[in-house]
């Protein structure tokens, strides 16, 4: 019990799943259940679910465009900070700066909005992407949960 009460305690969950599109929802559900322990607001919950959905959808659509591959999602809490790491071993991104531009999509003919990275950046406090062509991509996103409640208390 004492251990559970410690602040700043770190917990990690790691799941791997295949890049079937129905696993976009699976990733959101797992994330929502894991972060529930941080007692997030509805807005925080929806923000993270949206960001996770974007990261996993990128793996499904882009990384493993012509095949089914493995997606690894790691969720970590350190104190009130949630870290989400989504990794694939797909085709990688050749031009990261271009990929992160709002409205840019490499597949304009397929009803893509090009807002994926923009949503990840907007809904999380921080986002980093690393990628190597032919080797894969890792997205790391962070968000402090409960910050809006703390701000209200200060006011």
């Amino acid at each position: 019990m004492d251990k559970e009460k410690q602040t700043g305690v770190q917990e990690t969950v790691r799941v791997e799943f295949q890049s079937y599109s129905h696993n976009e929802q699976f990733a959101r559900v797992v994330t929502a259940v894991f972060m529930a322990r941080l007692n997030p607001t509805m807005e925080e919950l929806e923000d993270v679910k949206t960001a996770v959905s974007e990261a996993v959808t990128n793996c499904v659509i882009h990384a493993y465009e012509d095949c089914i591959g493995t997606i690894r999602m790691e969720l970590e809490t350190t104190g009130r900070e949630l870290t989400v790491r989504v990794q694939d071993w797909g085709i990688g991104i050749e031009n990261l700066d271009q990929a992160r531009e709002p409205l840019y999509t490499s597949k304009p003919s397929r009803d893509r909005s090009g807002m994926g990275f923009t949503f990840m950046e907007t809904f999380m406090d921080g986002m980093e992407v690393s990628s190597s062509a032919g080797e894969g991509t890792t997205v790391v996103m962070r968000k402090l949960i409960g910050s809006s409640i703390l701000e209200k208390k200060v006011v």
């Binding site: 929802q25 929806e46 679910k49 949206t50 959905s53 974007e54 009803d111 909005s113």
Partner: protein
């Protein structure tokens, strides 16, 4: 092609209900006969009904834009109705609000067009 479940026509308007969670997976499963309905049945307005939708990400935005292009290509109008605050925020972030009208209910969308 089978239409999205719950799709209905009122006058020259076609109302298509959106799924509870609109992501890349579910948007790929939305079937419609837009072109056939617009040419064959004189549909002039397509209303996407978000009343039952609780989640949407950027893939949903892509789906809406894709339908918008098809409707415009046949000279029709498109409207969105019933979107909750969260979905409205996401749509506005994407700039969709500049080209598509938002309404509270399907009835309001259809009435506004007439």
């Amino acid at each position: 092609m089978q239409e999205q479940k719950g799709t209905y026509c009122i006058g020259g308007s076609l109302v298509i209900p959106m799924p509870r969670e609109l992501d890349h997976h579910s948007s790929g499963e939305i079937r419609d006969n837009l072109e056939m309905m617009m040419v064959g049945r004189g549909i002039r307005q397509v209303v996407l009904d978000f009343t039952g939708t609780e989640f949407m990400d950027s893939a949903g935005i892509g789906m809406v834009l894709g339908k918008y292009r098809r409707v415009k290509a046949f000279g029709g109008q498109m409207a969105v109705c019933g979107a909750n605050d969260r979905i409205m925020r996401i749509m506005k972030m994407s700039g969709i609000g500049q080209i598509i009208s938002f309404y509270a209910t399907p009835h309001q969308a259809i009435t506004a067009k007439q």
